[in-house]
């Protein structure tokens, strides 16, 4: 299951996450909705918040595991 491959990468990048979910949007194992709430996002513009998620998932993005990625980021306060 590819969801199980993405989750540890996000947990490693956002160990403090108050919310962290990986949803397989289509059931096909390559279209994902990722939601993360972390203090790391606070004070950052949206693009930098998404950049942190993209960096955490750089390997599965590069090797084609992720065909489509939707990202929702939030602070924790």
């Amino acid at each position: 299951m590819n969801e199980d491959r993405l989750r540890p990468l996000l947990e490693q990048a956002f160990p403090d996450a108050a919310e962290l979910s990986v949803e397989d949007r289509t059931g096909g194992g390559d279209h994902f909705q990722v939601t993360v709430a972390s203090t790391r996002f606070e004070g950052l513009p949206l693009i930098e918040q998404h950049r942190l998620v993209n960096e955490a998932l750089a390997a599965p993005l590069a090797d084609g595991t992720i065909h489509e990625l939707r990202i929702k980021t939030k602070g924790t306060s």
């Binding site: 949206l46 998404h50 950049r51 993005l61 489509e68 990625l69 939707r70 990202i71 929702k72």
Partner: protein, 123 residues
């Protein structure tokens, strides 16, 4: 010299709103490109679209330039604004229109309709 990279950089640098997408505004080939296009249209952005599908190297070069791994990508006056999720969120909050006004001036809606440009050089 990398001609394709130069062409992509040129589009980013010279177009008010450069929109790298899968397909064209007339035939959108991906849900995320459609979401971003709809958000840009709702904000009245003068979009210049580039289809990344004709040549896989377009996407490789673009991501190398921008440091952004996914398509679509939206640039306003040379600055990466983000992908579909960001553009959609910014459009919903009104921030996209504010950014366009700030960078392109208050009359940005009158500056032009959607255009399509190609970057892939014929092989």
């Amino acid at each position: 010299m990398n001609e394709l990279r130069d062409q992509i950089q040129n589009v980013i640098a010279t177009e008010d709103v450069a929109f790298f997408m899968k397909g064209t505004p007339y035939l959108v080939m991906c849900g995320n490109s459609m979401r971003a296009l709809e958000a840009l249209r709702a904000a009245g952005a003068p979009v210049t679209a580039v289809d990344v599908l004709p040549d896989p190297r377009i996407r490789q070069e673009l991501s190398a330039i921008s440091g952004w791994p996914t398509i679509p990508q939206v640039f306003v006056r040379g600055e990466l604004i983000g992908g579909a999720d960001i553009v959609e969120e910014l459009a919903a909050s009104g921030e996209l229109e504010r950014t366009l006004e700030e960078k392109l001036g208050p009359d940005y809606r009158a500056t032009g309709a959607e255009r399509v440009v190609a970057v892939a050089s014929p092989v």
